[in-house]
């Protein structure tokens, strides 16, 4: 959790954002985190005012700075909402710079779609904006039990400073709630256990865009860290929303909706059916891990990195049915 603000980041970002000037280094007393040296991200404006950075299809590494998730922001008439501030301190700083290239409107909300580090450890770059950190009501208890573990794993890869940190949510969402960015209402849905037990999705009413985050994976294999049965159920509910466009947590910046859900639905249902079969046949978990969803391998990037783990989680859930 972030205990104190980082003053030097804030000053540089404020100077760059408010005046558009690059302040010479000699004027600044503090060592900088080189916000100006970090190039802004390649953002795609998927719909008017909705900007997405597509993450790489890789596991977190020192080389990629954990920039492996789709992150971005939405601009209303009065304010900006960040959707997932990134996977590390620098990922967050770069997103911040991208926002400031686009608008000087205040960053009023930082919406955290779920607790995984590739989506939230960039929080560290946004504290000086004093935003409202918004998350599913279950996210804080999840971070209470896992935050230290995530920080340690990320720090082992890129160092403790560079890892960044998550922020404690100020606003906990249950059910369906809305926020308004100035003639731009965003619907926030707190989902039942699916990808994780704290998934939040966002719908932009102005453009009919569903920011599904990690409830939707396209091209890159889904990762299960909640409930397989729950995820299949939540995906069905999302498909019924009147949105023509969706933003996955991993995959292209924007996809057609609900068509883009088909592959993921097939993958999850395959794991469900085949794992249940394994359990019914008395096969043990090692056998299931080696065989379930093997036919899906050519359909997904990073399949070998995640399918075995997905089957393990599914097996643990389904053996209790």
């Amino acid at each position: 959790m972030i205990a104190a603000r980082s003053a030097c980041i804030g000053r540089r970002a404020a100077l760059l954002g408010a005046t558009g000037l690059i302040v010479p280094r000699s004027i600044q007393a503090e060592p900088d985190h080189a916000a100006a040296d970090l190039p802004p991200l390649m953002m795609t404006e998927v719909a008017p005012g909705i900007h997405v950075r597509q993450g790489v299809y890789e596991d977190a590494s020192a080389a990629n700075d954990d920039a492996i998730a789709n992150i971005g922001f939405i601009v209303g008439n009065d304010a900006v909402a960040v959707i997932d501030p990134g996977g590390s301190r620098d990922d967050g700083l770069r997103l911040h710079a991208s926002i400031r290239q686009n608008t000087s409107l205040p960053i009023r909300y930082v919406i955290l779609s779920h607790m995984h580090p590739d989506h939230v450890f960039g929080c560290a770059a946004f504290t000086d904006d004093d935003p409202i950190f918004v998350a599913h009501a279950n996210m804080l208890p999840a971070l209470v039990s896992r935050g230290e573990y995530y920080r340690r794993v990320l720090a082992d890869l890129i160092g403790l400073d560079a890892a960044g940190d998550y922020a404690k949510p100020n606003r906990a969402i249950t059910g369906l709630q809305t926020i308004d960015l100035g003639d731009r209402v965003l619907e926030l849905r707190a989902h039942g256990v699916a990808h994780t037990d704290n998934d939040l999705s966002i719908v932009d009413r102005r453009t009919g865009t569903l920011w599904a985050a990690d409830l939707l994976f396209v091209d890159r294999v889904p990762s299960l860290d909640g409930s397989l049965v729950g995820w299949i159920h939540e995906l069905d509910a999302l498909k019924a929303l009147p949105c023509s466009r969706a933003i996955p947590g991993h995959g292209p910046a924007s996809v057609a909706w609900p068509a883009a859900a088909d592959n993921e639905q097939r993958y999850l249902t395959t794991i469900l059916t085949e794992t249940r079969q394994m359990i019914a046949n008395g096969a043990d978990i090692e056998v299931a891990v080696d065989h379930v969803a093997a036919g899906e391998r050519s359909q997904w990037a990073l399949f070998d990195d995640y399918n075995g783990r997905n089957v393990t989680v599914a097996f643990k859930e389904l053996e209790w049915e």
Binding site: M1, N138, P141, A142, L143, V144, S145, R146, G147, E148, Y149, R152, V153, V193, T196, D197, L224, D225, G226, S227, G230, G282, D284, I285, E286, V289, G308, R309, T312, V313, K316, E317, E319, W320
Partner: protein
């Protein structure tokens, strides 16, 4: 007996830096110390041909590493010790077999904290100790956080499932899998609000009987995975009763009638 073994194991792990990368010589030395802590000066023979230990060479999930121990029935084994040598608590479990046991195969799931040797040591009726080992590559299993659906896990605490294999492998012997819903929390995670360690809550004793005969008792510890799974053979002598006690002294009991 149990407490003094646990104490000497704690001293043992304190003296060897568990996080340092170990080489073969380190591991052999660690096993030697562990043997001494558990068995004192007793001779531990090579159990090749009598006991085998199977585990994935590289584990998918370090918090859930499946292990299979097979034992030659002709060996008349009364006790089975399972170690995960480089874990903070290396004696993962001790099975004491009773008259209704048929210890030809035992399967369970363990947490593995770092690349490690594992050992299965059986004790025969005539007091011989026979050992086999396996090297497993996995890391972080003891400090890994709990599974993804925390609320479901807690609401299910202490519930059990018992499944008997449809086709007996041998006449008069059944094979069954017991699942116990329990976090088996090792107390190594930190609560981010209080910055205290989340208290350990783990299973310490499991007793399984069939009719009025004991199948086995298991002295367990934090090295067993969350929601422990045990697959074992037994000679049915009546309804199965399972009694589980955890480190908070909570007791869970459940009975299962056997299929006819």
């Amino acid at each position: 007996m149990k407490t003094s073994v646990a104490m000497s194991l704690l001293i043992l792990t304190a003296s060897l830096p568990a996080q340092a990368a170990e080489d073969e010589a380190d591991r052999a030395a660690r096993w030697k110390d562990l043997q001494h802590a558990v068995f004192g000066d007793r001779v531990v023979e090579d159990g090749n041909g009598i006991v085998t230990l199977d585990a994935p060479a590289r584990a998918m999930d370090a918090a859930l590493v499946p292990v299979t121990i097979t034992i030659d029935p002709a060996a008349h084994v009364k006790t089975l010790y399972l170690t995960v040598d480089s874990n903070p608590s290396p004696l993962a479990g001790t099975f004491h077999f009773g008259p209704a046991a048929d210890p030809h195969e035992i399967r369970t799931r363990v947490r593995v904290e770092q690349y490690t040797l594992m050992h299965a040591v059986v004790e025969t009726d005539d007091g011989r100790l026979l050992s086999t080992e396996r090297f497993v590559k996995a890391a972080g299993g003891c400090s890994a956080p709990m599974g993804g659906d925390a609320k479901a896990a807690l609401s299910r605490l202490g519930q059990m499932r018992f499944r008997v294999e449809a086709t007996p492998r041998q006449s008069g012997v059944d094979t069954a899998q017991l699942l116990i819903s329990h976090p088996n929390n090792n107390g190594m995670q930190v609560d981010q609000l209080s910055h205290n360690f989340i208290p350990a809550r783990y299973i310490q004793d499991i007793k399984i009987t069939s009719g009025d005969q004991t199948v086995f008792t298991l002295d367990a510890d934090i090295s067993l995975s969350e929601n422990p799974s045990l697959t074992f053979g037994f000679r049915p002598a009546g309804a199965i009763e399972v009694q589980v006690e955890d480190s908070t002294q909570a007791v869970f009991k459940q009975s299962f009638t056997l299929p006819q």
